[in-house]
């Protein structure tokens, strides 16, 4: 049924020629390292989270600061947008998650308490009725958005978690951890369905499902990004050329004009690879520190990147016309 390896379709129409990205604007506002930046799903807003304990919501068209979300008592490591772009959930070192309204009056609607250590990663499920969070306490917690109730605690890994992500229909959760494994969980009952381990590999610093939910993009702290077919347990593509050996750098798929993999790098660059050819197409220079997070606009050819303490900015990049 699943034609994992060999494609049956005729060769796809040749992808549009890659047009390089250029710097559009640098967004300053955070007083510490920026840990995460994400476009909302409707593309109108951009949110950034920082170690300065705040989040900032920016307009993605005017790139002006709309609001600063203040409330966490410690640095914020990750943020996630709900599918309808109405809410932001943030994960903080103060062991809590907060749900914020991303529209005026920008209230903090809920504080999710329960993790016994810093919360490192968070994501909504596609229906946005569930929130999954991963923490240094080595558990995944699944929360109900509406009530803020913790529905499930999964003792997931033997080391801190680095990422949690839902697949397209929300039936699976992928988690990555410093213990070097990637695990796939049934959302409904929290049972383990699959473990992916590559023996020699150190920590898994990031894991995310592909847009169709068939593959996982996995970053490991040996300067490697891999596209993994989780049902067969085989690597399909390996992307090299960037530097990533100490930080949990978030990477992403770019699908708006051709298919690319975009990731930050510890050499202060944003790297763009061709999804199919695995060759690096461009290195965007400009940040003054490790690029810890990148995000692609859902419809426009726009990338935003965030950088650490020596830089403290978000840079927005656009494709040349």
């Amino acid at each position: 049924m699943a034609n994992s390896g060999a494609p049956v379709q005729p060769p796809p129409p040749s992808p549009p020629k890659f047009k390089p990205y250029r710097h559009l604007k640098t967004l300053t506002g955070h007083s510490r390292a920026v840990s995460c930046v994400k476009f909302s799903n409707d593309g109108t807003l951009l949110a950034s989270a920082s170690l300065d304990k705040t989040l900032i919501i920016w307009s993605s068209s005017s790139l002006s600061q709309l609001h600063r979300l203040v409330g966490h008592s410690d640095g914020v490591s990750d943020l996630a947008w709900s599918s309808d772009s109405q809410y932001i959930c943030s994960a903080s070192d103060d062991r809590t998650l907060r749900i914020w309204s991303a529209r005026p009056p920008f209230d903090c609607l809920k504080t999710l308490k329960g993790h016994a250590h810093a919360v490192f990663c968070v994501n909504f499920n596609p229906q946005s009725e569930l929130i999954a969070s991963g923490s240094f306490d080595e558990t995944i917690r699944v929360w109900e958005t509406k009530t803020g109730r913790c529905l499930n605690v999964i003792k997931a890994h033997s080391m801190p978690l680095t990422s949690v992500h839902f697949n397209r229909d929300g039936s699976l959760i992928v988690s990555g951890s410093h213990d070097g494994s990637c695990k796939i969980w049934d959302t409904q009952n929290g049972t383990l369905l699959k473990t992916l381990i590559d023996d020699k590999v150190p920590a898994v610093s990031f894991a995310k499902f592909s847009p169709n939910g068939k593959f996982i993009l996995v970053a490991t702290l040996n300067n490697t990004l891999k596209l993994w077919n989780y049902s067969t347990g085989k690597f399909l593509k390996i992307y090299l050329g960037h530097q990533n050996s100490s930080y949990c750098i978030m990477s992403t798929f770019s699908v708006t004009n051709g298919k690319y993999i975009v990731s930050g790098s510890e050499d202060h660059c944003v790297c763009i690879w061709d999804l199919q050819g695995k060759n690096m197409l461009q290195k965007l220079e400009g940040h003054k520190d490790t690029v810890i997070c990148v995000t692609c606009h859902p419809t426009e050819n726009k990338i935003a990147s965030a950088s650490l303490d020596n830089d403290r900015t978000v840079r927005v990049w656009v494709q040349e016309r």
């Binding site: 699943a2 494609p7 796939i184 699959k194 068939k214």
Partner: protein, 715 residues
């Protein structure tokens, strides 16, 4: 979506009760097309929409004019609308997203079952099966009704549609008849009391074919499978029959018309019967030949591979599962509560059943994690296999070079965007967007407390019946209190020589006896001093819930509890539990002799009589390394106490306990004080109001293991 990594060796049908839903008294249920939402009709006329992913309530639909029990619920094809029939003879059509009523009509009889026309995404036509008259097509917006024929006259003088547009008078007796639309809604399949299936073109109001059921007994239920290929009947002869639908899915009525032209039987009835043989063919019969039980609410599984039915016997919650080939594969046995309704999830192997008590049980596979989930290279085998090793597998010097590790060509293009169409929904035309989820709006945290304030402020001062607030409060020592992770004391305060624990009744999963008691209670309102309408629901620990992180004495402060109030314990099911105990159970942290231990993660207790009530969690605390002991128990009490005791329970050798003065507490010094105890279970009786301090001399300095207890004078 998770199909590729689900273990194929595990069964396809549910086995155990995974969870249950509770809200009011639910009577009937229906899944939306994708199985993401579950609608449930309640005895009080509300229709609850459950989010089946979170198992939380997504919406409540209530019409102020309707407070009669709901008899059936039905979703429109793409889930935008819900049709509800109630026992006050009304039909209500709801818009699900907005929660607004689109239309309401009242018929002359109570409708037992109402089905929306499946062909349209915004249907107004529905098929209603009243209690004792012929099924009818109702246009719920205009209110027009068309009664469908249910009997063919024996005279054979053509078709005699029974009393069109005329409600049946007393002379014609109908037993409850049953009917359903076919997949596209152009035909109606009706089962009548003579044991005949009539296939009716509802636009022409004409019987187009007739299929006699072999026994000729009353047809109680008639149900199509989701794909429209199979039809099921449940008849009074205690038999479930499966028919294969021979007509094409689309334009079935045209095919029937053509069929009629080719038939040349003179007699109309014979002609209809001949047409009937071309419509349905019997493929299987199910019965329990030993017990001969009557069936209730039979239906197909989502994929049509399984057939399930409940037993109609009283006080029995049994669900029979057959495969379509006719083998009984499983009998699910639930609690001793009669089964009211049954549904199989459209996609997953899940069954949902409604019990007489109004609870909805969710049956799921007893999923066990298999070894291959942990080790990626493992392959699960159904049975042992003889392993034939490769010729050179154990050679010291393998002849052939090791085959290339990865058989995946890295240059093959991968498709990260496209999704295979879900075969279960092959017919979905994407022109109309389907409503699968209701927006999950995080409810702000404040209103909950407001509600509480309103509740408590509306309380009447009703004398000695009311319980006094707790007079003991334990606060943590200064800086420790600011630290969220400060150890929670393994401390109990209790009343010496207090009256026996109060009797409480559990609301969740009430037995039938439990229900009777409840009824009794409502009959005697004099027993409760406070009108039940003012009952307040307290979430113990508020948003923090029931766990070792919360200072429950602080939480109790200023709260007064009245009979009828409800205490909700919300906690992580794997970490904690809750038991209501009596005074001695509370003192000894022992839940044995008491009222049961609950561990669902969300337990509700109603205070029924004045007096003290005690709750404990018997689980070993997850904070054992930080707390006083490895077997932390959280205890607290409600009600007034004139004397209280602090009990320290800990691992002997790891900790000790000393009662000290304020200086001793600040300096972590137990010298000048009241002695150091290290038995592992030390009890201090607190006799006078004031502040008392306890420390563990091993851990006071660096782990802040200290505790301040403030004893307040009796009110």
């Amino acid at each position: 979506m998770n199909a590729p990594i689900i273990d194929p060796l595990q069964g396809d049908f549910p086995e155990v009760i995974e969870e249950y839903l509770e809200h009011g008294i639910m009577k009937c249920i229906a899944f939306n097309r994708r199985g993401t939402l579950l609608a449930a009709g309640c005895a009080d006329g509300t229709c609850i929409i459950w989010d089946f992913e979170t198992r939380g309530i997504a919406k409540e639909l209530q019409d102020k004019d309707c407070n009669a029990a709901i008899t059936s619920v039905c979703w429109s094809k793409y889930g935008h609308r819900i049709l509800v029939s109630a026992s006050d003879k009304s039909l209500i059509l709801w818009d699900v997203l907005s929660g607004e009523k689109i239309a309401r009509t009242t018929l002359e009889q109570t409708v037992l079952q109402a089905r929306l026309h499946p062909g349209s995404s915004t249907p107004s036509l529905c098929l209603a099966c009243p209690f004792s008259s012929a099924p009818m097509i109702v246009d719920i917006i205009s209110g027009t009704t068309t009664v469908l024929p249910v009997l063919i006259s024996e005279a054979g003088n053509g078709i005699a549609p029974n009393a069109r547009s005329k409600t049946p008078d007393g002379s014609t007796t109908y037993s409850p008849s049953t009917a359903c639309f076919n997949k596209f809604g152009d035909l109606v399949y009706t089962g009548n009391s003579k044991g005949e299936i009539l296939i009716i073109d509802h636009e022409k109001v004409q019987v187009r074919a007739l299929v006699p059921v072999s026994s000729g007994s009353i047809i109680r239920n008639i149900v199509f499978s989701r794909n429209g290929q199979y039809l099921l009947t449940n008849t009074n002869d205690r038999m479930i029959r499966i028919y294969e639908n021979l007509l094409p899915m689309k334009d079935a009525h045209k095919v029937l018309d053509e069929l009629h032209e080719t038939l040349d039987e003179a007699d109309e009835v014979e002609k209809l019967k001949a047409a009937g043989t071309k419509c349905l063919s019997l493929v299987q019969e199910f019965q329990d030949s030993i017990n001969r039980i009557q069936w209730k609410a039979p239906c197909f599984s989502g994929d049509g591979e399984w057939v399930i039915s409940g037993s109609a016997s009283r006080g029995e919650h049994k669900i029979y599962i057959w495969d379509r080939a006719g083998h009984l594969v499983k009998i699910l046995e639930g609690p001793k509560e009669a089964l009211m309704d049954l549904a199989w999830h459209p996609v997953h192997p899940l069954i949902v059943s409604v019990s007489l008590t109004g609870l909805v049980y969710i049956w799921a596979k007893d999923y066990t994690e298999n070894w291959s989930a942990f080790a990626p290279d493992f392959k699960e085998l159904e049975e042992n296999e003889e392993y034939v090793e490769r010729e050179d597998e154990f050679d010291l010097m393998p002849e052939t070079e090791k085959v290339k590790e990865s058989d995946v060509n890295e240059d093959d293009p991968v498709d990260i965007l496209n999704v295979e169409k879900d075969s279960a929904f092959s017919d979905s035309d994407m022109s109309q967007e389907e409503l699968c989820f209701l927006p999950a709006i995080p409810c702000p945290e404040v209103p909950e407390q407001q509600e509480k304030c309103v509740g408590s402020s509306s309380k009447l001062p009703d004398g000695n019946q009311s319980e006094s607030p707790l007079s003991v409060e334990a606060g943590q020592n200064g800086h420790a209190a600011n630290n969220a992770s400060s150890p929670l004391e393994a401390m109990e305060n209790s009343v010496a020589g207090e009256t026996e624990g109060t009797r409480l009744k559990r609301r969740r999963r009430p037995s039938e006896k439990g229900l009777e008691l409840q009824a009794e209670k409502t009959k005697k309102p004099s027993k409760t001093m406070k009108p039940s309408a003012f009952a307040t629901q307290y979430i113990v620990g508020d948003d923090s819930g029931w766990n070792t992180e919360v200072d429950y004495y602080a939480w109790l402060e200023g709260k007064t509890f009245y009979v009828g109030d409800v205490l909700v314990f919300s906690y992580v099911k794997t970490d904690h539990n809750v038991a209501m105990v009596d005074a001695s159970g509370y003192n000894n942290c022992n839940a044995d002799s008491n009222y049961g231990l609950y561990d669902t993660g969300y337990d509700t207790f109603t205070l029924t009589t004045p007096g003290d009530v005690y709750f404990i969690c018997t689980k070993a605390g997850s904070l054992c390394t930080r707390g006083w002991s490895s077997n932390l128990l959280i205890c607290f009490l409600f009600g007034f106490s004139s004397r209280c005791r602090a009990v320290f329970s800990y691992v002997k050798g790891d900790h000790n306990v000393a009662m000290v003065d304020v200086a001793g507490c600040n300096n972590c010094n137990a010298d000048s004080n009241y002695g150091v105890y290290d038995t592992g279970y030390d009890v201090f009786t607190l006799t006078a109001p004031g502040d008392v301090y306890f420390i563990c001399t091993y851990h006071c300095d660096y782990a802040d293991q200290k505790l301040k207890v403030t004893v307040q004078p009796s009110p």
